[in-house]
């Protein structure tokens, strides 16, 4: 029983310290600055904001374009 508590707390402390270290490092890297740009970080030149990236197979607008290329 005592052993189990020691185990839980050791494990939890290791997990906690890892998290503290990781997040401390993350904050230092400025993760909380410039949130507006953060929200846009999933877009890039090839898949820019405003481009829809998912269609049912065979039904997207690019189909016609590609057919024409063939």
């Amino acid at each position: 029983m005592f052993f189990v508590f020691v185990f839980i707390w050791t494990f939890a402390m290791i997990a906690g310290i890892t998290m503290v270290w990781l997040l401390g490092w993350a904050i230092k890297n400025g993760e909380f600055q410039n949130l507006r740009a953060g929200a846009r970080s999933i877009f890039d030149e090839e898949e820019p904001e405003g481009r829809v990236t998912d269609y049912f197979p065979g039904e997207g607008p690019l189909m016609r374009q590609l057919e024409a290329r063939r």
Binding site: M19, G38, S41, G50, T53
Partner: protein, 488 residues
């Protein structure tokens, strides 16, 4: 994404990231679908047994009390665990713009994980269940589940430290939190129950603290992470309010894990422990509302894309049900509500609403979006996707409505001592039949998805379709190249 150079001068493009993840993520998601099928079948057998107890009645290892925990455990660990792991690895790789590290080890881990679930389920069917709900797997099966998860945690951190992207996206917050929470959860709960740190009522609290958190701190954050990525990405519009998303994350982290004791309302617990559970549950309105605002407001003006995008359909269904089922869950925790619905089918309805209405659709959305990009193939059939979607939505709604209605009536009758108990049982039977029908609908959807999934991982399918999920010329060129290689 423009190709970025890392410190070693390597160029990692989005396509390369996806290629590095192809086998790892496919293995995890394929296992997820197989376990989903197993879980659905086990659920169906359990459901049939409740209205027709003679069904397979003479086989001891298929008795209700054994097949029912196998249903939940294969659903939550088999489907949930592998689907979430695949999601975590792919999403983290993409958002960090790195290759997936040590793919062979991760695939081996996935295999071991599957073996663990298989052995654990067989153990339960043989009668070796520990008797602690959600932790039924015999203790010897647990290392087979925990060790592969450690690989995933390490891979996750490695990707995060090697990330090329300067910013940590909100999805990554949730994914990082899951990797920290889940091992702590499992080990603390096992220690407090099956390893015997505490007995009796304290053990029951530990059990339900875990039972609630496995949904709330494992399935939910993964689902939310998927929604935060997919919805903006598919419609090409950034998240409505990025500030709110961080508030939602922290309030979720703080309040959810206190909510579990509402599963024992009215039980032999000190009143204050239940009050904490109720308070924790009510506070969940904060993250639920912030997350809801974010997901739904992002969608405003883009609902017409639901018609054309399979990913978006599932993602929006998931995020809408997240709001609804969380509201339902918070209200359900109130003592006056629990007086009626506790101990009834209402709870079962709520669980399926959350797991099959919120978590599963978001995992499906993830797969629909990622698989063409991972394999370079196209989904073979739009019709099968539509069947899958309508079966998931219809089956889930039928299930939830039937069970919640039956549960309320059942609870009201149970609180009226003049109604004989067997009359209550007889009252629920027609609704249990409806549940079996709903289960069959869900199974039909799963089979449609399985067929589509089976065919997308076959390389030769490529030449028969016109890729339209691929929206850039460059993706298309890659496909042509691959097609040429295959035809040689």
């Amino acid at each position: 994404m423009s190709a970025t150079s890392d410190s070693r001068g390597e160029v990692v493009s989005r396509i390369e990231v996806d290629r590095s993840a192809e086998w790892v993520v496919t293995v995890y998601w394929a296992s997820a679908l197989l376990w989903l099928t197993v879980a659905t079948l086990a659920g169906l057998i359990s459901s049939i047994k409740l209205h027709s107890p003679g069904f397979l009645g003479n086989i001891e290892w298929l008795t209700f009390g054994r097949i029912r925990p196998v249903h939940w455990d294969t659903a939550v660990y088999g489907f949930g665990g592998t689907a979430a792991s695949g999601t975590l690895l792919w999403l983290q790789a993409r958002l960090c713009q790195t290759r997936i590290p040590f793919p062979t080890l991760l695939i081996a881990g996935g295999v071991v994980f599957n073996v663990g679930i298989l052995l654990g389920s067989i153990g339960v069917l043989m009668g070796k269940s520990t008797g602690v709900e959600t932790l039924e797997f015999p203790l010897w099966a647990m290392p087979l589940l925990v060790i592969p998860y450690v690989f995933i945690v390490i891979a996750n951190f490695k990707m995060y430290f090697n990330r090329r992207n300067a910013h940590t996206y909100v999805s990554q917050w949730y994914l990082m939190a899951v990797t920290i929470w889940f091992p702590v959860l499992v080990l603390s709960a096992e220690a407090c129950t099956n390893l015997g740190a505490v007995d009796g009522v304290a053990q029951a609290i530990a059990n339900w603290w875990y039972g609630h958190n496995v949904v709330g701190l494992f399935a939910t954050p993964t689902g939310i992470a998927a929604a935060y990525y997919l919805i903006p990405k598919v419609i090409g519009k950034p998240v409505h309010s990025y500030h709110l998303s961080l508030l939602g994350f922290w309030s979720n982290a703080i309040f959810y894990n206190w909510a579990g004791t509402h599963h024992l309302t009215g039980g032999p617990l000190p009143a204050w422990t239940i009050t904490i559970g109720v308070v924790g549950s009510m506070m969940m309105f904060i993250p639920v509302i912030t997350i809801g605002i974010n997901h739904h407001m992002t969608m405003v003006g883009s609902f017409h894309h639901l018609k054309t995008s399979p990913t978006l359909r599932f993602a929006v269904m998931g995020s809408m049900v997240y709001t609804l089922s969380s509201f339902q869950g918070a209200l359900e925790s109130l003592r006056s509500h629990q007086e009626i619905t506790h101990f009834t089918h209402y709870t079962i309805g709520h669980v399926h609403f959350g797991m099959y209405g919120f978590f599963a659709p978001l995992m499906f959305a993830m797969m629909y979006y990622a698989m063409p990009r991972l394999t370079g193939n196209e989904w073979i059939s739009a019709r099968l996707i539509r069947i899958h979607f309508w079966c998931t939505l219809g089956g889930m709604l039928l299930y939830t409505l039937a069970m919640c209605y039956a549960g309320i009536r059942q609870g009201l009758m149970m609180n009226d001592p003049t109604v004989p108990f067997l009359n209550i049982v007889k009252f629920t039977i027609p609704y249990l039949w409806i549940r079996t029908a709903a289960g069959l609908i869900l199974l039909a959807g799963t089979v449609a998805f399985l067929i589509n999934f089976w065919r997308i991982v076959q390389p030769h399918r490529l030449r028969f379709v016109t890729p339209t999920l691929m929206t850039t010329e460059r993706d298309y060129d890659m496909l042509l190249k691959k097609e040429k290689e295959l035809s040689q």
